[in-house]
């Protein structure tokens, strides 16, 4: 199926190029080109930005990874999970435990294995996955709201367990995050005087690149999964469990695997969170964290990887920005006074944004982007004098976009069967 996509898309590009010249060709490739531009900008940014912005950026990178994991589960599989905070906690705390040397702080003893940080990071992700797998007897059998509440239980029970396991987690006081390092290169401020193009590279410059690489890998993997057989199976499970089972999809198995992948993503996000904050305590991973992640993926557009990125920038970036500039913004006031503080303003903003998006733009930011891009593509096609060669059908890219967004948001025009329908012209085009 993925080959048919690429074939038909290639045809679409050819048609556009033939019809509208280089400008239309550029329009058609806009997503790819803009992605590359954004990546180049992100690579260059640490040379110019202050530490504050790098810190914000690294928090966002971590959130993006967690949000991608959640969007696979909630958006693509249709399984509501409020347990993301728990898997973040497992990842963050496992990393700290695995990478730290055992230490004694006063009367408290903190265990640790003292593994190399990279090994600890990989193991932390695996442990989160294991936690997700252990939960699969519940997660694979329940759906919708039942799973939502059951996973909520995971947060509460998990927090209790983690708070009690003091030697590993540090209990209520938490524990410090060991610094990350890769083959002897420390991601921390050191005296090496390491600098690029005259810009000294400290802790957050280095972490920025770590985060960026991990985000790219995470998004790439998720993109591959969602565009291939498992992704289609998951969407089929979401749109009609019985229909999916009839076509031979192992519904329970795919649900369990979606939960596994999602919890591993959350684990990695937890490791990045631990690195960005510098210390972790089980207390930090409350239900509110789970809610925040749900807000991220909803604002971005459920099931969309690009949307997970955009949502993270908004939900994680906004409070930090408002906090930084609270003194300059007239409608904000200092904490403790009767006015609206920056943290509260950010909460109002994203709570209201969630409501408004569900009401007016259920496909989220990704939906807006799709509409814009497909509109431009259509315009580029119309500018050419020749009729589209696929016999008037929409370009495959557009059909796909509409199906991805609308089938989920249920705007009604395409409906649950939309994914199948939209693929038909693409298949026909490549066949004919």
């Amino acid at each position: 199926m993925s080959d048919t996509h690429s074939t038909s898309r290639a045809r679409g590009f050819c048609a556009v190029r033939g019809a509208g010249g280089p400008r239309a060709a550029l329009t058609a490739r806009l997503p790819l080109v803009s992605l590359l531009v954004v990546l180049v900008v992100l690579v260059v940014l640490p040379l110019y930005l202050q530490e504050f912005w790098l810190r914000v950026g690294f928090s966002i990178f971590g959130a993006v990874i967690g949000a991608i994991g959640l969007t696979i589960l909630v958006g693509t599989t249709g399984q509501l999970s409020l347990g993301h905070a728990f898997f973040l906690a497992v990842g963050a705390i496992s990393y700290c435990w695995l990478a730290s040397e055992p230490s004694d702080l006063g009367s408290r003893h903190l265990g640790g294995l003292g593994l190399p940080p990279l090994v600890a990071m990989v193991l932390a992700v695996l442990i989160s996955g294991l936690a997700g797998l252990l939960f699969s007897p519940v997660s694979a059998r329940l759906r919708g709201i039942y799973l939502g509440i059951a996973s909520l239980g995971l947060v509460f029970v998990g927090q209790h367990v983690l708070n009690s396991a003091t030697p590993v987690t540090g209990g209520f006081n938490g524990r410090r995050t060991p610094h990350f390092s890769l083959f002897g290169f420390a991601f921390d401020n050191d005296d090496s005087g390491f600098a690029v193009l005259g810009v000294p590279f400290g802790r957050f410059e280095r972490l920025w690149y770590l985060g960026l690489v991990l985000v790219v890998l995470a998004a790439w993997f998720a993109y591959g999964v969602l565009r291939s057989r498992p992704g289609r199976a998951l969407r089929a499970v979401r749109d009609g469990e019985i229909a999916a089972a009839v076509t031979g999809i192992d519904v329970t198995g795919y649900r369990a695997r979606a939960f596994l992948v999602s919890s591993m993503y959350a684990g990695l996000a937890g490791v990045l969170y631990a690195l960005s904050i510098g210390s972790v305590a089980p207390e930090s991973f409350t239900v509110d964290v789970s809610i925040q992640y749900l807000a991220i993926i909803l604002l971005g557009g459920l099931g969309s990887i690009g949307g997970a990125v955009a949502g993270s920038v908004f939900v994680i970036g906004l409070p930090l920005l408002l906090e930084q500039y609270s003194e300059n913004l007239p409608f904000l006031s200092a904490p403790g006074s009767s006015g609206v503080t920056s943290a509260e303003a950010a909460k109002y903003a994203y709570g209201a944004a969630v409501i408004l998006f569900v009401l007016f733009q259920p496909r989220g930011l990704a939906g807006i982007a799709y509409t814009l891009v497909s509109g431009r593509r259509a315009a580029a096609l119309r500018r050419g004098s020749d009729p589209p060669p696929d016999g008037g059908g929409p370009p495959a890219g557009r059909g796909r976009a509409a199906a991805d967004g609308a089938a989920f948001a249920g705007t009604g025009s395409v409906g649950p069967a939309g994914t199948v329908q939209a693929d038909l012209p693409a298949g026909a085009a490549s066949g004919g």
């Binding site: 249709g78 329940l142 209790h160 409501i355 009401l359 948001a409």
Partner: protein, 303 residues
């Protein structure tokens, strides 16, 4: 033995209040197919309105205004937000359920942030006329607040079950939950049913809030919102689409919590402060055995 009976009675009285909240989840779920995560905020609104008005107009009037105000707010939420997301046939897809549920979370964030900001670090008192006193019969002690809560909850729940069974609305709600399309064809207006469901749920939440802020708790604090997180497992344990289940779930959660807190000394091996997690532990165990809850309808799919 006295300790045990005392814990049991206290647990049941607290469970009755949870049952009021859980009943709200169940009614809304039956009417709208979503779980209202903003229910914690509804509790909050009810208690806040009452606490604010108790000075000027006295407790009785304040409580009535609190309950009515919260009920109207719930209807407003249903009319302005929920009914707009198209569920014409009443058959929401898994995706829509997720989106709507996340919307209730967004609503919860907005309301809770606003009220928390208004309260600040204060503890507002609702000045319940029954005060903070307690009585004891044969060594079994119970706060008056808990006793009155239990009585009120019993009356309200009985009234609700009667309405559910005998009134036109109750029949319409059950029909609508059973088969939305057929119900619509029989002339049942879905919006009537669901608006009334939200009205009742909002009112019940506010009543529960009045008792939750009474003795032995010091008064209204922003943490009242977390009580809703104890009522979720109650609704799930009983089965989300069963009103009887909500009652049973509420009592189970209340009793389990009370017993764990009472025998904390013997339960040290479970870690300190296990009381907060116990409703969820019970819920997970129930879900493992019965994925639809104790009284919930099992979904059958013939392939």
């Amino acid at each position: 033995m006295t300790t045990f009976v005392s814990l049991l009675v206290n647990g049941i009285s607290q469970g009755a209040v949870y049952a009021l909240i859980a009943l709200g989840f169940v009614i809304i779920f039956k009417a709208s197919e979503v779980l209202n995560f903003a229910h914690g905020s509804m509790l909050f609104v009810g208690a806040y309105l009452t606490a604010r008005l108790v000075g000027p107009v006295g407790f009785a009037a304040a409580a009535v205004i609190g309950v009515v105000g919260t009920a109207l707010l719930a209807v407003l939420v249903e009319r302005l937000l929920f009914s707009r997301v198209g569920r014409g046939t009443g058959l929401a897809t898994q995706g829509q359920v997720a989106a709507l549920t996340i919307m209730t979370l967004g609503l919860d964030i907005v309301i809770a942030t606003d009220l928390t900001r208004r309260i600040g670090s204060r503890v507002l008192s609702l000045d319940q006329p029954w005060g903070t006193g307690a009585f004891s019969v044969g060594g079994v002690g119970l706060a008056y607040n808990r006793l009155i809560a239990m009585g009120t909850a019993a009356v309200l729940i009985l009234a609700f079950f009667a309405a559910f069974r005998f009134t036109g609305w109750g029949v319409a709600l059950r029909a609508s939950a059973e088969d939305p399309e057929a119900a619509a064809l029989m002339g049942i207006r879905h919006w009537h049913v669901s608006a009334l469901a939200w009205l009742v749920a909002g009112g019940l939440a506010a009543v529960a809030a009045v008792f939750l802020t009474g003795s032995p708790t010091p008064g209204l604090e922003p943490s009242i919102r977390t009580v809703a997180f104890l009522a979720f497992p109650a609704a799930i344990i009983g089965g989300l689409d069963s009103t009887t289940g909500a009652l049973a779930g509420g009592v189970i959660v209340g009793v389990a919590q009370s017993l764990v807190a009472g025998y904390a000394d013997h339960l040290q091996f479970l870690g300190g402060d296990f009381g907060g997690a116990v409703p969820y532990v019970v819920m997970l165990v129930v879900l493992l055995a019965r994925p639809a809850g104790l009284f919930g309808t099992r979904e059958l799919a013939r392939v």
